[in-house]
Chain length 394, copies 3
């Protein structure tokens, strides 16, 4: 019976936890950390997706992410776990933002940042700043809608918009690793998936320019233009990230189910461009289905990990159902307080250890396979998709 395999060579008992702790994660969708100090009101408003003021009768610390900060970030700042909010913020102020960032980013064990710069990018550390503070490579993901708005801010006519946008996108993404679209915020995922005709784009650009003129506000939300940005992004050929599911109330979550992208996924399939569905909560099982049946679809549960805190193991577990393990990634989607960057990695490691460790304890997986899957999801899939070993190519 020469085909019998050698006995399992799984690492010793705590091998899985140790291996997961040691992974140099690729955070494939993240934003910069804030360089400045924060008062309590500012801090609380940055640890929720709500854009409303915190009501006087509650504190945002009374939430899963709040408890997770007090539990897991407090020790990094030299406090005992489960600190009080006031003590935590006092200690944070005492250390200062630079030291807090250095500690939290350093202890996260992130090995590589892919930083999306399109959202309030002037308030946070840019990729170079993130690389400096963390000591790790930090490369860029370019937001399509931000480039389009910069083109209009710089001045264009309707007929020239498409060419100017293409030129700007190629220039802005010269050294980028990926692109990102927020069509979910600007319209919803229930858009006509076909590339619009050039005449439609010009006409829509004209409408937009007139609206900018009359309102003084530059914000692209016309579905024809949004589709044009996406298809230009597909032409650019870099991996393309989609905000999906949970986010701030600017999103109409009822129109945020990734199943709505089926038409686009099928039309984009021949291009070979990887489509990366971000966050996806509470539709992460839908994303797992798409990742099984379409070779060009990948997903993560990004933002859903931080904001579910002690429940994040359940969310991660639900992401490990239909999708082949080569199609799942890790991200934190952190923006602002470095607590979010730190927790994104820490909670993911704890969740993976608990979930995969459970599969091993139940006799369903070998430990060696569990280590390999964690390595694929945490590191290798992103390195392959974004070609992180390669030099960037213009």
């Amino acid at each position: 019976m020469s085909t019998d395999p050698a006995p399992s060579t799984a690492p010793p008992g705590d091998g899985l936890a140790g291996a997961i702790d040691d992974l140099p994660l690729v955070d494939h969708h993240v934003h910069g950390a804030l360089a400045g100090d924060l008062d309590r009101r500012e801090f609380e408003e940055l640890i929720t997706e709500s854009d409303r003021p915190i009501p006087s009768w509650m504190t945002q610390f009374d939430s899963q992410v709040g408890f997770a900060i007090l539990r897991h970030c407090a020790p990094v700042l030299g406090l005992a776990p489960h600190a009080d909010p006031a003590a935590y913020l006092a200690r944070r102020a005492e250390l200062g933002a630079a030291e807090v960032n250095r500690r939290l980013l350093g202890a996260s064990g992130i090995g590589h940042f892919l930083i999306e710069t399109g959202y309030r990018g002037d308030e946070i550390l840019d990729p170079a700043g993130m690389a400096r503070v963390s000591g790790r490579p930090a490369e860029e993901v370019v937001r399509l809608e931000a480039v389009a708005e910069q083109v209009v801010a710089a001045g264009t006519d309707a007929a020239g918009f498409a060419d100017r946008f293409a030129a700007a996108l190629w220039e802005r993404s010269r050294t980028a690793r990926g692109l990102k679209t927020i069509v979910a915020y600007r319209h919803g995922l229930d858009f006509d998936p076909r590339p619009p005709a050039p005449a439609e784009v010009t006409e829509a650009a004209g409408r937009w320019l007139r609206a900018v003129e009359s309102t003084g506000r530059i914000r692209v939300d016309d579905p024809v233009l949004l589709r044009h940005l996406i298809w230009t992004g597909v032409d650019r050929g870099l991996p393309l990230q989609f905000h999906i599911g949970y986010g701030d109330p600017d999103v109409d979550l009822h129109r945020g189910d990734p199943l709505l992208l089926r038409g686009l996924i099928e039309l984009a399939e021949p291009s070979g461009v990887p489509l990366l569905l971000l966050h996806c909560y509470p539709f992460h099982r839908h994303a797992g289905y798409l990742a099984q049946v379409y070779p060009n679809v990948y997903f993560d549960v990004g933002l859903g990990v931080n904001y579910t805190g002690a429940r994040s193991a359940a969310v991660v577990a639900e992401s490990l159902e239909l999708a082949p393990f080569a199609k799942i990634l890790f991200s934190s989607d952190a923006w602002g307080p470095a607590e979010l960057h730190h927790l994104g990695a820490l909670l993911w490691r704890r969740a993976m250890t608990r979930v995969l460790g459970g599969f091993v304890a139940d006799g369903e997986w070998s430990e060696a396979r569990a280590v390999r899957v964690a390595t694929m999801i945490g590191v290798e899939n992103a390195r392959r998709i974004y070609r992180l070993g390669d030099a960037t190519c213009p």
Copy 2:
């Protein structure tokens, strides 16, 4: 390092379970208990949301809620746990409904009932009766649609409907703690969120009155009128409950996703009126999202706890993800057999103990925080939202 907090002062090992058992819960959405005795057929038809006869080849006891009754209510009636249905119902008959109600309501540990009286209110104990049997305060929540139907039953013309409804609502809710709408049953949540114009209301009232005349049936289901009731309710200013999700087959659950309420939530936000999303199963994660991003949104998993029985801990766990803990409430939605009132409280306590105890055991939460969250959700949030410490105000 003077900012280091004192060591955690969590209560001893079983502190969490004991604290949760002792909570004087506010059941913020419940109906009366049946005063009379029930035969087996009647009992079985009251422990399901189906309004169909129980098929001859099954018993409704073979369900999660059935097993929970036989497990948890049997001891309250003096039987061993896991009684047989026949033995359980025989014992119930032997004790009589009054004694059964006294035992089950008393042992529930409910501290305060908010009783919605709009559904077959003449068949069950009214708030005064519930207060008498339970020995606890019982106040009222008024159903908007029932008031509108009473206005029509009492006689009105189309032009006078809006004024008469407003007057009746103010009068009926003089001492009420909240209002309730069942627009989910009567139309679905996919309605135009804007308040209708007075002329539209009059026109719709005319259509309704003609329909009442020709059919002899008084039932409001015109979306213009339903919107008018809701906006009049918002003007009334009391906390406003919405039936959401799972319920009897009169609801089209495909149109019952709370994400459909986004437009209304945003339009009602300036009023400051708390909007309370009830039950929400299987859309409770969607409700948790709304509760995070909108200050005026609250929710519970009410009815979903009783009917999932041994699985209710999973449902409760899923409700503890995105929402700040100040935005989650407890309710039983019990109607009829006092078993449902009893189980609503008991299963919630068991679920919270298991879920929060798990967070503590995993090292994610301190026990003190777990006790505080259970107290907020079980008691304090409802006391704050409904101002239960205050006298009622006309």
Copy 3:
């Protein structure tokens, strides 16, 4: 207190696991096993619902179902658990498909197969072949759409289609136990639920025949015709299975929510025909709701068990919430490699043991009740619904 029940007479400690292992399951929706050998590429393409080639940078073994095969099927072929894919496939080839089928089907403990023959039925074992290999009864479930396409292939005019289809359906289902519709694949579940008028059917048949003539392809996807097939199926009176939820990318999953069937369920209710919702993932909680409130609705989590592997206990647990236990069934939906037939049964047994065993360990259910529920879901419900004790009736 003569009504006190006797003390619980649950079987000893491992009684539940043993009882579940011994159940002679009725697999009420399954397809034939492949009679021939498979190379690695072919094998990998049959253990996913994707119809695309496996990308070069991944293996389909790196998935829940892949790991489950290597864990649970390897020992049946004489290998250690957690075999390598190459070793597994080499051993499979060494044994040959006939021996592999004999081992895997035999060890599955399936007691009765209901085989749906409408999908590529010429490539796999037919019911007689399955009965021969497994040594267990194998009866047929007839796919409505396949019969309609055979009618057109055999030749008909538009006016004669309805009669010819009815005649063919009665003939084809003479000894069948049930019918099946794939309207979810061919249109989506968002169809007008009413039976179409005869003139509409003739007109739609005419459109279809002209399309067949011009394209040379026979595929029914006109919603009028699909509705006609379903209502003819209801008239035939056999239990009617619906593909629901997850499947290959031919399905638009966004239109696959079983809640969309509400209108049809209500219209079909007076017929008394059992409607069986298959798979339902990720909408299985929606199916559980329908099964609670409508007497004619049943469901399973079929395909969702195999493809979630180590996570299948979570999916099974979610299926045990709202539905009465008389309304839930077991199926594997296996097609092709006998690994899928084997795993469907094995993973279901493991999941039920874990989930129901948890209810018992938590003190929520008695062990005797757990055994009974497993027996209902695994065996008895299907025997009752499909009248498996009876002779088939023309």
